[in-house]
C-alpha cells in the first residue's frame, strides 16, 4: 500500500517527538498508511500557527494539504488545536487520505453481493407500507447539513430504498446509529468522501430519520463558567476497557477480508 507523507514545519521538538510517537502507535493498524517525512513531496504539512508562509511554501506541492497547529482551531478544517490530540490528528489525516486515494469517488464500487432486493428483472417492486409518522409531529422544513457545526444521530434505521444496497451507506448509517457525529467525524470513521457523506446525511434529514443538534460555540461555557456537558454515553465499560481497540478491529476486518 502506498504510504502518504506528512511533514512538520516549525513545531517545537517536543511536539514533533509526540507526533512521531503517535505515528509509531498507529502503525500497528493495517489501515494506517501515513509516515513522517523530512523531504518533499509531502501529501500533507502540519505547520506551526506562527510560522511564516514563506518558510513552508517551497515545501508545498500542488496537492499538499496544509493545516496550522495553534491555540484554537475553531472547527476549521485547516487548523488543529494545541495540545495536539491523536484522534483529531488522525481524523484530519483520514480526510486527506480519502481525497487523495479515492479521488472523491466511492471507495467501494460493489453493492451487497446478493442485493436482497425484493424484485428481480422486470418484476414490479413490492409495495411497502408507507413510513410511519408520529401524529403530533410538526413537519417543519428539514434542516440541511451545511448549517454550521452540527451533530447528527440516526433515530431509525433507513429503508432499503435509501440504503440502495450500498456498503458505504450501510456503514455510514451504522456509525450514525451509534452516537451523534459531525460530518467530519463521519468522513473520518467511514473513509467515505465528504461530498457523499453530506449527500447521505441530507437524504436522512429529508427522510426525517436523523436528529440534528447544533454544537455549542467553541468557548461556550455555561452561566457558571463551566464547559458544556459532554453528550451522554452508554453507562457500561467502554470498548477499550473491554480490550477492544482500533488495532483489534482492523485485525478482524483483515481476517474477514473486509476493506
Amino acid at each position: 500500500m502506498e504510504l502518504l507523507k506528512l511533514g512538520l514545519v516549525g513545531l517545537p521538538p517536543a511536539e514533533a517527538s509526540l507526533i512521531a510517537t503517535l505515528f509509531r502507535l498507529h502503525k500497528v493498524e493495517p489501515s494506517f498508511i501515513w509516515t513522517l517525512a523530512t523531504m518533499p513531496p509531502f501529501d500533507a504539512l502540519l505547520v506551526d500557527a506562527e510560522c511564516e508562509e514563506a518558510l513552508f511554501l517551497p515545501l508545498k506541492g500542488a496537492g499538499t494539504r496544509v493545516a496550522r497547529l495553534g491555540a484554537d482551531a475553531n472547527g476549521a478544517s485547516d487548523r488543529l488545536s494545541r495540545p495536539i490530540r491523536s484522534d483529531l490528528l488522525v481524523r484530519w489525516l483520514n480526510a486527506i487520505e480519502v481525497e487523495i486515494l479515492h479521488g472523491g469517488q466511492d471507495q467501494f464500487s460493489s453493492t451487497l453481493s446478493t442485493s436482497k432486493a425484493s424484485h428481480k428483472g422486470d418484476e414490479p417492486m413490492q409495495t411497502r407500507p408507507p413510513p410511519v409518522t408520529r401524529p403530533a409531529e410538526v413537519l417543519a422544513p428539514a434542516p440541511t447539513v451545511a448549517t454550521g457545526a452540527r451533530t447528527f444521530k440516526l433515530r431509525r434505521w433507513p429503508s432499503q430504498e435509501l440504503l440502495k444496497g450500498d456498503v458505504n451507506r450501510i456503514r455510514m448509517a451504522t456509525l450514525l446509529s451509534r452516537r451523534p457525529l459531525q460530518v467530519a467525524e463521519l468522513v473520518s470513521l467511514s473513509r467515505v468522501p465528504e461530498s457523499r457523506c453530506v449527500a447521505f446525511v441530507d437524504a436522512l434529514l429529508n427522510a426525517r430519520l436523523v436528529d440534528s443538534t447544533d454544537l455549542p460555540a467553541p468557548n461556550g461555557a455555561g452561566a457558571l463558567g463551566r464547559s458544556p456537558a459532554a453528550p451522554s454515553r452508554p453507562a457500561v465499560a467502554p470498548p477499550k476497557a473491554r480490550g477492544v481497540g482500533a488495532s483489534l478491529i482492523a485485525s478482524i476486518r483483515k481476517r474477514f477480508g473486509i476493506g
Binding site: 413510513p131 431509525r156 456503514r171 473520518s188 481497540g245 485485525s251 474477514f256 477480508g257
Partner: protein, 176 residues
Amino acid sequence: MKEHKIIITGTMGAGKTTAIAAVSEIPPIVTDVTNNDTSVDKAMTTVGFDYGLLTLENGDRIRLFGTPGQARFRFVWSVVAKGALGLVILIDNSRPDPVDDLKVYLEGFASELASLPCVVGVGRTETHPEPGLDVMAQALEDMGHVFPVLPVDVRQRDDVVLLVDVLLSQLEADLS
C-alpha cells in the same frame, strides 16, 4: 493471546448454525438433537451452543457462539453474551410473527443491549417479503433501539461478513 466472542442468536431455523459455518475456519461444533417441536419443520435443533472459530494474525481468537434459539434457554443468553464484541440477531421472515420474534431477543438481551453492538439480520425476505425491514426498524425504534436491519442469506459468506462489518463499525464509533 486474547479471545473475543461474537454471539449469534435467533429463532430455531433462522440460520445461526449456517451463519457460523459460513465464516468459521473450523467446521462448526454443533450441539443438535432431534427436534420434537412439530410446529417447526426442522429435523434437528440446537440445545447447546454452536461454536466456530477465527484466528487473527497476532494469534488472538474470535469465537463465534450460536445460542439455542428457543426462549426456554433464555437463562443462558446473558451468560454467554457477557464480554462479547457484539450480537447478531437472526430473524426468519417466514415465521408467523417475525416482529414478535425480534422483541423476544431484544427483551432477552435487554441489559446487554444498552451498550453492546447489535445487528439484526432478516432471512428469507425473497420468498417472504412481509413484514418489510422498515417494519422491523420501526419496531426497534418503538423499543428505543436503533440497530442496523439487513436482509441476509446466511448461506452466503458475504452476507454474514457484512453483519460482522456492521458490528465492527459500531465498535469504531464507540472508540472515537
